[in-house]
């Protein structure tokens, strides 16, 4: 991964509306959200096929449990022990153990830990709850995958939804966890004023670990993200352009 760099947002391994043969020069990293491959996971498990083989890519794959390009308007379905993911067949509740098993089946190069990422408009109490759940799931994931190489490929999302104090507290805790890197979700940040919060949060995180910025960023936000954190990797904003 080269920094600064962009990742390719995909739906089920394809850039929305554009086939892979036309995207060869888009960079080396693809992001795949779980909802777009949820129904295929049992097939991958049954046929012992990795996600990269299924979608047929030689790019690096990052698996996320949620779609960073979608608004966070269904997070009320998340519970203390599970998140809800919507696939073709409807809503599916996933515990941390379920998700870790999916990670083992898919074998992505990196994966984002299961998280209760909520929008910045939630109240402090809800944001606090999201921090508690997410940090708990980070710990659980480390435990569940302790005997699997995948544990070293985990990206920890920074919860807190724009509440600076909560985000910084979460960052302090996560800084001591054995993770590959960190993720900040644009959809969970407020429209304005997020830049300084992000800068302060990143200053707490280990400087030798990358921080990925996922979500529908416009060009200005990409520059702003870079200017606050030299090793931040904004996610490719193909979604707004193609949809």
């Amino acid at each position: 991964l080269r920094s600064p760099g962009l990742f390719e947002f995909t739906v089920c391994g394809q850039v929305p509306h554009v086939t892979a043969d036309l995207c060869q020069n888009n960079g080396d990293v693809q992001v795949v959200s779980l909802n777009s491959i949820l129904n295929a996971v049992p097939v991958l498990e049954k046929t012992n096929t990795t996600l990269a083989s299924y979608v047929v890519t030689d790019k690096k794959l990052i698996l996320t449990p949620y779609d960073s390009m979608q608004p966070l308007d269904m997070t009320s379905f998340n519970e203390q022990g599970s998140v809800s993911v919507w696939g073709k067949g409807g809503r599916k509740k996933l515990t941390c153990a379920n998700y870790c098993n999916i990670v083992k089946v898919c074998s992505p190069d990196l994966f984002v830990c299961m998280a209760d990422i909520v929008p910045a408009t939630v109240n402090r109490k809800r944001a606090d709850k999201s921090c508690y759940r997410t940090l708990n799931w980070v710990n659980q994931t480390i435990t569940f995958l302790s005997d699997n190489a995948a544990v070293s490929q985990m990206l920890a999302p920074i919860p807190g939804s724009g509440h600076k104090q909560l985000m910084m507290k979460s960052a302090h805790i996560l800084a001591n966890r054995s993770v590959f890197g960190y993720v900040i979700e644009r959809a969970s940040l407020p429209v304005d004023g997020w830049q300084e919060t992000v800068k302060d949060v990143i200053s707490i995180l280990p400087p030798d670990k990358p921080v990925f910025f996922f979500g529908a960023l416009n060009e200005l936000e990409v520059v702003q993200a870079y200017s606050r954190a030299p090793c931040t990797h904004p996610s490719n904003a193909t979604q707004p352009g193609t949809r």
Binding site: C12, H17, T19, L22, S36, N39, A40, V43, K46
Partner: protein, 391 residues
């Protein structure tokens, strides 16, 4: 130098099928050929690069749609449709007449032209032969179709006869208005419905106008297949051998095989690309509806004998998953269906060259109809040209 030349390279010793080399200003290719439809200057979801990679030699554009959006002036300013869509192979444009009937509730045919209400702003407009020629000249297509008086093939009585005769008069007006005979070929369209005598009258009048090529129009509109093939055969019996015969609106694989045996050279239809958008892949055994959940666990390619990018890269399971998530699923299917039609026509041509077309036909039908319950019309049509499907 002529804008079109046709060289017959091989003929089937049993049927009326032939392989020809068709030279157009932008491309030279062999017939029989199936032309995919890019109505608005693009085959939906597929780039010109992908069409080139597939080896597509010619596509269709539509005068009615392109005449409205973006309009002939915009296309002409870009240097013609080839430049506008960055496509350097051949283009055939339809005249817009069929859309007058199929799309518009209030189209009215008069001797002057077709009066209709614009679907975009409701204003009254008139499409005349001269106007259709002006648009097609601006588009710069290799082959242009005359504006014909289009009526439903099921129309009976004097209206059909009137349409046939008017189409001849409109061909005269098209030929007068056509400004670019050096680089663009104006095809006449044989009409006459299902009436053999009217068809012969149309053939006689149209052939006398000495067009570079002819289309068999007014079919594939719901008529009985028994009438369909007889009309096609009648037309190919009378059309000049040294000019291409274009059967309009035909694209199902059975029809392509049978009508090639009846002597047709060119075909077009939205079917292959449209059915892809509904999740259907064309294969020699028929069609696979890949949205069906049975394909979720099928890790084989759509067609193991197909060399298209889709079949070489992805499994049926993956395409099934994609179809429910993003338009890339239908794009991959479109690419496959385009490749399938190209391969079918290539196999037809090769079997004609090797003079084993009847064997190819029999094998094709057995594959498609393993229970040997062949369509009656196909059996009759093929028997008329010396191929017995049923011993």
């Amino acid at each position: 130098m002529a804008a079109l030349t046709l060289k017959v390279e091989a003929t089937c010793s049993t049927t009326k099928a032939r392989v020809c080399e068709l030279s157009l200003p932008h491309n030279i290719f062999n017939t029989p050929i199936f032309m995919h439809v890019g109505t608005q200057g693009t085959i939906k979801g597929v780039t010109t690069k992908q069409l080139n990679d597939l080896g597509v030699p010619i596509i269709l554009g539509n005068t009615y749609h392109l005449g409205h959006r973006p309009g002939p002036d915009v296309v002409a300013a870009a240097g013609g449709l080839h430049e506008f869509m960055n496509w350097d192979k051949a283009i055939l444009t339809d005249s817009g007449g069929f859309q007058m009937v199929s799309l518009l509730k209030l189209a009215e045919f008069t001797e002057q032209g077709v009066k209709f209400q614009s679907p975009h702003n409701g204003t009254e407009m008139m499409l005349t032969p001269e106007h259709s020629m002006a648009i097609q000249n601006a588009l710069g297509s290799d082959v242009m179709m005359q504006l014909d008086d289009v009526v439903s093939v099921l129309t009976k009585g004097e209206r059909m006869h009137e349409a046939m005769e008017r189409s001849v008069r409109w061909l005269d007006r098209c030929q007068t208005a056509h400004k670019n005979t050096i680089k663009q070929n104006l095809f006449g369209i044989i009409q006459g419905g299902l009436d053999p005598q009217w068809r012969k009258d149309s053939l006689k009048d149209m052939i006398a106008r000495d067009c570079p090529g002819y289309a068999i129009g007014g079919l594939s509109g719901g008529e009985e297949k028994a009438d369909f093939w007889r009309t096609v055969s009648l037309c190919t019996d009378h059309l000049p051998k040294n000019k291409p015969r274009y059967l309009m609106g035909v694209g199902y694989q059975v029809e392509l095989v049978v009508c090639s045996a009846l002597g047709c050279d060119m075909y077009d239809c939205v079917f292959p690309t449209r059915t892809a958008r509904f999740g259907s892949a064309l294969v020699r055994t028929g069609q696979l509806q890949l949205k069906h959940k049975q394909y979720l666990e099928d890790m084989s390619p759509i067609d193991k004998d197909c060399s298209c990018m889709t079949c070489k890269t992805y499994s049926r399971s993956y395409v099934h998953s994609l179809l429910h998530e993003d338009t890339t699923g239908v794009i991959l299917l479109t690419i496959h269906n385009i490749a399938y039609q190209l391969r079918l026509m290539s196999d037809i041509r090769q079997s004609i060259r090797n003079d084993i077309f009847p064997d190819f036909i029999r094998e094709f039908f057995v594959t498609l109809f393993p229970d040997r319950r062949y369509p009656e019309w196909a059996v009759e049509a093929l028997e008329s040209v010396g191929v017995k499907l049923i011993a």
